[in-house]
Point group: C2
Chain length 306, copies 2
């Protein structure tokens, strides 16, 4: 392990929003030069003005040509498009390419097609990806949060070490796994919750067409359960379309759990219902205590209600 | 309307937790005497020590005998039990009886059986009912939050006026409706979300038996969507068992919405999926802007992540 020794001559971040901008800030002192590539001139102007980057361009080829480390922080299908069609021929040999997309299997497969000599690894920081743009960037975003690395056929031992030291430099908790396993897990903890949240809002919106008191009475429980329905649609469309099978699998499992509770409810077996809800409550409380509260011990709340 | 003129000689609150305790604090200056009735001696001791109540007892009969206003703040099935079996014979004539249970139809039906001369009305403050007990009581809990009143066969015009002035004294937004309509609405905005949240946690817990990285990677999206699964089980069991038909109806509607999105996902119609997600996102953003953010303008956040 290289410890906290990550250093790079030239870091380029492509498509920086909250995550990419936060990476630039967190790695500011570890890169001699930081370039960002973005088609939005406001993003570029902001990054330069705030000193988040030294150079900004909308030209991918120019932006990555001198880079020793490239982080792809665009939506998943944009990352796939870059990997499949363009970026390989722009990169210098021995460049480290990492992405921070929310699904990993398709991206890791696409990375395997990069030219030999490019070192590539999939990445996914679990920080809550609101659609808040570079304006919400925060150097402390990754501290004590899980950061998943998924090796690819282009992950050489040297690539592996550099990627690990980068993650350690962020103060994140490094977790390595195969991309298929990653995608199944995020299907359960992130994409399934999004589908439920969106379907809940769709259900209430339909009822509210006839009775707007549905909206008037909705309070804290609805607010939290419906929050993910406000996620950026482009981002979520990319995620769901690159993880359809795992999401469909978890949806099928969810339906079984829901149907069991529903059966107990409809048949009037309330004692059984309460019995089956008890371990669920325990599991949620355990998770909060074991994982979530410790992570937020630094007072950093990555997701606030919007 | 009587404006903010609510006053009562003797207020008794039965089974005070967060809601009942907050009512006592909010109405402190409008009642000459406040009694609480609770079987938990800690609750009674705390209420007396903090000056939330003047008297505390575990004897329902003694606690309500002198009351001019009685608020039933126990779990729903305890309220039903009191209304059906005991409390009618303990009450003085012209007493105002209100409850604050989360389902209203069964309770309003039970109120209709109280002796003629007792004035009774169903109530439901939409404030987020965490299992936090009287220790979290807050006089400002109801400010700018909806407070539903459901008239019963025992709601005389005088009862109605007194109940309205009580709600106004809390600073709440008064909303009146039939109990059946109330129960359908809360099935959609509160009980359906709970069922989804619990089924989500059950699904993830099942997967996590084989791979505990499900728990390790779960972050903000899971935290918010799963929060309701940590609700008090006794409270939720009472709620679901007294609103089973409306919850089953909303569950059936939810399944239709989820199945539509799932079909688009599985069949690879991602453009259609994104198209159907857009108005859902709009609806959520609209709700936040129109209702939720205004209510929280006073900086009071009734539901914080736990």
């Amino acid at each position: 392990m290289t410890g906290s020794g990550f250093r790079t001559r030239h870091l380029t971040i492509v498509g920086p929003g909250l995550i990419g901008g936060s990476l630039a800030m967190a790695l500011r002192d570890r890169a001699d030069t930081i370039t960002i590539v973005d088609i939005n001139p406001d993003t570029c102007a902001y990054a330069l003005e705030k000193g988040i980057a030294d150079y900004a361009t909308d030209d991918l080829k120019a932006g990555v040509a001198e880079a020793e480390t490239v982080i792809l922080a665009a939506p998943v299908r944009s990352i796939l498009d870059m990997l499949r069609n363009r970026i390989g021929s722009y990169l210098r040999s021995n460049t480290l390419v990492m992405d921070v997309g929310s699904t990993k299997h398709d991206i890791c497969e696409a990375m395997a097609l990069l030219p030999v000599g490019v070192g590539a690894i999939g990445g996914h920081p679990m920080t809550g990806k609101e659609n808040s743009g570079i304006w919400a960037a925060d150097a402390a975003l990754f501290q004590a949060r899980p950061f998943v690395l998924c090796p690819t056929r282009r992950t050489t031992p040297a690539t592996h070490l550099r990627a690990r030291s980068l993650v350690e430099a962020l103060g994140a908790e490094l977790i390595e796994m195969e991309s298929v396993r990653h995608d199944r897990i995020v299907a359960g903890i992130s994409h399934l919750p999004y589908m439920l949240s969106a379907s809940l809002v769709a259900t209430v919106a339909r009822e509210a067409q006839h009775d707007d008191a549905f909206w008037r009475l909705a309070a804290g429980g609805f607010r939290d359960t419906s929050r993910l329905a406000a996620s950026d649609i482009k981002m979520m469309g990319d995620i769901l379309s690159t993880n359809a099978r795992a999401v469909a699998t978890l949806l099928a499992m969810f339906r079984v759990q829901l149907a069991m509770m529903e059966t107990q409810l409809i048949s009037g077996e309330y004692d059984k219902l309460v019995e089956s809800l008890l371990p669920v409550r325990e599991a949620r409380l355990n998770w909060m205590e074991t994982y979530e509260q410790k992570r937020n011990g630094n007072g950093h709340t990555p997701n606030t209600p919007r």
